[in-house]
Amino acid sequence: MAVALRHGIKVWHRRERGAELAVWAGWLAGAAVLVYCWQLISDKTIWAFVTDAPAQAADLGARMVPPDWGFMRELWLPMWDTINIATLGTALGVMLALPVAWCAARNTTPSAALVRPMALLVIVSSRSINSLIWALMLVTIIGPGVLAGIFAIGLRSVGFCAKLIYEAIEEIDERQVEAVRATGATGSQVATYAIAPQVLPAFAGISVFRWDINIRESTVLGLVGAGGIGLPLNAAITMLAWTRVSLILLIIIATVIVSEWVSAKVRHAII
């Protein structure tokens, strides 16, 4: 224990002197990096706009109330589209994620030297490219609309789901697999009777979790033309119809809170 003698009295300290100094040096270095980065950003900022921001925010806020409730009846269809994009996109992503996860998990991959790195590359590229960028590309390819949104969400979800599923596969109890294999089961029988039952709860939880994230992501896909509530949002912002914008934002908050509640309930029921 670190104890320092001060005026002949033993005083408790959390760390030894060396550790204390190291922690301080770490904080100092961190602060220096932070200040340096801040300086670089500050150079690129027009501060007149920033100091003006509170007045702008107040002005914008005043233009947003009251929300244009009458616009609501034109929002039901985009809202339905948004939910469809999220749900069907999640389904697509999960279906694509299963084989990828199978190839990426160390204990099930057909070849650790060749297939596994490829599966990991698929996972990383899907995860690091945002769904908006996927949508940007897909709108160019298959045209604007809900379908591009579904594919964007699906392609983006593959990486996330596959990563979590392959981690679940790697954590399974090997003894059960061995027991099933000892009965003379074929490879596909081992998969259905030994591996699948062990990862199924995790799989269901991951799907619902991703669905909840996808609801949030699909609200913005309309900004690049991929359907959903983002389309009227973009139109309202472009037309400076701020009372409509505030209504759409309220609807987004409500949907996200409901979907979060649903996903928490379902995951609670599974686990």
Partner: protein, 268 residues
Amino acid sequence: MSIAATVHRHWRKPPLIRHAWLRWALGAGAALYLALALGTIEVNWIRVWEGLPRAARFFAAFFPPDFTSRTSEIVDGILESLWMTVVATAIGIAMSIPVGVGAAKNIAPAPVYYLCRAMLAVSRSFQEIILAIFFVKLFGFGPFAGLVTLAFATIGFYGKLLAEDIEDMDPAQAQAVRATGASWLQWVNYGVQPQVMPRMIGLALYRFDINFRESAVVGIVGGGGIGATLNTAFDRYEFDSAAAILLVIVAIVMLMEYSSGYLRRVVQ
């Protein structure tokens, strides 16, 4: 039991959902939903069909990725994204600590709890892009708007996880510190903080990761960083440069993922 009866008994795999009626209801509901959802999607199949050769050309335009002709723009964009990420993560986490502590049911009084939870819900509901559109309107173009966006989004993510972690802590240790006569601040510092610290450091690294990835899109709506460079490349139809930018993003994210995984193992 007679042998004949044993022979005719077959073992069946137990289903995931135990109640038969719930299983059937979920199945029927899913089928109904699928029919409805697929029925309302308007797909212009002619447009999709026309798009396929275009897709081939589109992806052909990506290869080979062109790192050379826009090198300085790419480097500038990546560096700007990195600064933005560093500052936004630091500010966001610093601001999410009071909110997160306030949103923990076991240590905050009820009014503070509901206020902080509401703040977290609002911050989590909006995609970074929507926030960025507004912050660009308020603060003008450039990395500052992106920085505020990422910091704001960090509050929702980090604050919620911090609050949940505090709610899951071991009350015995906190009580022991309180029993020594510690003030509230000392109690939080010595009774609560050490319990949540290891996980929160890991989550900070994870959020850094997310913020870098998100900084690639806030640029699309004017928030600075590599997203602005990427958007320019798309707008100019310089798909080979865009491919280079995407590859650089993937590489950096991969690098950060490995190093943050390593750091997390060291810390925990």
